[in-house]
């Protein structure tokens, strides 16, 4: 059964089917939000919000729309909505709020862990837009075509922006490494 078919069923009232969608997408959405916020506890909260919205606003799902694009759009909205309110607290400050490093404790060796910390710290310094592009295309391995569709733009545009983001990331990464 395709994601789209399941969502149609949910939309018609068969809520139990939403569990299937949860199983298929919760890890991806959680990782997306964790990489964007760099805060796993927050990512959990926001992921719950995403699925809450999927259920509550099920009627707004357009027939024939690609489910993956729809749910990612919900995730992006949840992310930016969250920072709208936190931003109001720090109204002086520009853009990205960084939250402490949360390294997955999977028994990786020290060098791997250090690299992961460097990577998190560096991605934290990117703009939201840049970080999002890298998370989607490089961490989550989404195709340029899928991202272009999600952001309603061209593949060429995405490619240029991703390149710039990688270049910026390199700068920050090796700056931090030298310290």
């Amino acid at each position: 059964m395709t994601d789209e078919m399941i969502m149609e069923a949910v939309k018609s009232g068969d809520l139990q089917q939403a569990t299937l969608l949860f199983e298929r997408y919760n890890k991806r959405i959680y990782n997306f939000l964790a990489r964007m916020t760099i805060d796993r506890a927050l990512a959990e909260d926001l992921t719950q919000n995403v699925f809450l919205r999927v259920i509550k606003y099920r009627t707004s799902y357009r027939e024939g729309a690609k489910f993956q694009a729809w749910i990612y759009q919900v995730a992006r909205n949840v992310f930016s909505d969250h920072y709208q309110t936190v931003k109001n607290r720090y109204s002086n400050f520009v853009d990205v709020e960084k939250i402490s490093d949360h390294i997955p404790d999977s028994g990786e060796n020290e060098i791997q862990q250090e690299k992961e910390i460097l990577l998190q710290r560096s991605t934290a310094r990117l703009t939201d837009e840049q970080r999002e592009l890298l998370v989607l295309t490089r961490f989550q391995h989404m195709k340029y075509e899928e991202v272009a569709e999600l952001m309603d733009t061209t593949v060429a545009n995405i490619k240029v922006k991703v390149h710039r983001a990688i270049i910026k990331l390199r700068e920050f990464y090796f700056e931090l490494e030298r310290i």
């Binding site: 809520l15 139990q16 569990t19 919760n26 805060d39 796993r40 809450l52 400050f93 934290a124 961490f139």
Partner: protein
């Protein structure tokens, strides 16, 4: 071959992704063979790209599934049609309603009491968690902004964030001192000093501030530092102040401040 940096960077990224046609690929390989800067660029880009590629996939916590299941249950409840109980004799209907009311009120009272307690505790734990997270986020925000080399005003804003922190940990204190000693911009250094002044109760901070007095060369910062010492009633610096007064290299304005400091502290 003369190639501008941005174009080269783009080509190298595509090369690493194996997206280049034969002609471009050979051109890049040639460049990498002959140009050491290009070679370094390649290695660095490859490293970050690999790091992103191989970055671990995180496991969502168990609670996520549980919460989702609750969500479904709740939503199902909401959309289920209400049951109706029919009592034919109107009398019994009224009596039953009254009985239910009394019973419901009694049970409701106890449930409410229990829930209120639970809710209160949940809220407290939640608030503490939110506060902890907000403190963490404040700290990282600050460190991130201090890193900004281009904009002095951005660094100053970062230091203003430090004013929101109730307590300084070692990482923050070190970052503040690093800024105090090394930043090229006087205003940023003064802002760092303001931030540090908040933590003057901390003995480690005090100690480092005293040491700063003898190493600091920026006159405006020196003056502010002296004033801070006086405010802190730090008699230990009297000898350092005397050194400043005696040193020819010290600016007059600083000497005057030091002199006044000695008098106030003695």
């Amino acid at each position: 071959m003369d190639m501008d940096k941005q174009r080269l960077e783009g080509l190298i990224i595509d090369y690493i992704d194996d997206r280049l046609n034969t002609v471009d690929r050979e051109m890049v390989e040639q460049e990498l063979r002959t140009n050491t800067d290009a070679r370094r660029l390649y290695n660095e880009l490859k490293e970050v790209m690999r790091a992103m590629d191989e970055s671990p996939v995180l496991d969502p916590p168990e609670s996520l599934k549980r919460t989702f299941d609750n969500l479904i249950s709740q939503e199902l409840e909401v959309s289920r049609p209400a049951k109706t109980v029919l009592f034919h004799p109107a009398f019994y209907r009224v009596a039953a309603a009254v009985a239910l009311l009394i019973l419901g009120a009694g049970v409701g009272y106890w449930i409410n009491k229990y829930n209120t307690q639970q809710e209160g505790m949940r809220q407290l734990a939640h608030e503490m968690e939110v506060t902890r997270r907000q403190l963490d986020s404040t700290k990282q925000l600050m460190l991130g902004m201090l890193d900004n080399e281009q904009s002095a005003s951005q660094r100053i804003r970062g230091l203003n964030v430090a004013l929101e922190l109730p307590k300084a940990d070692k990482e923050i204190v070190d970052a503040l001192f690093k800024t105090l000693h090394n930043d090229s911009n006087t205003n940023v250094r003064l802002a760092a000093l303001d931030a540090l002044a908040r933590f003057q109760e901390d003995s480690d901070v005090r100690r480092q501030l005293i040491t700063s007095l003898s190493t600091q060369r920026d006159p405006m910062v020196q003056i502010k530092l002296i004033q801070l010492m006086v405010q802190m009633k730090e008699k230990a610096v009297i000898d350092d102040l005397r050194d400043l007064v005696d040193d020819d290299a010290t600016m007059k304005a600083v000497k005057d401040e030091a002199h006044s400091g000695i008098l106030k502290l003695s």
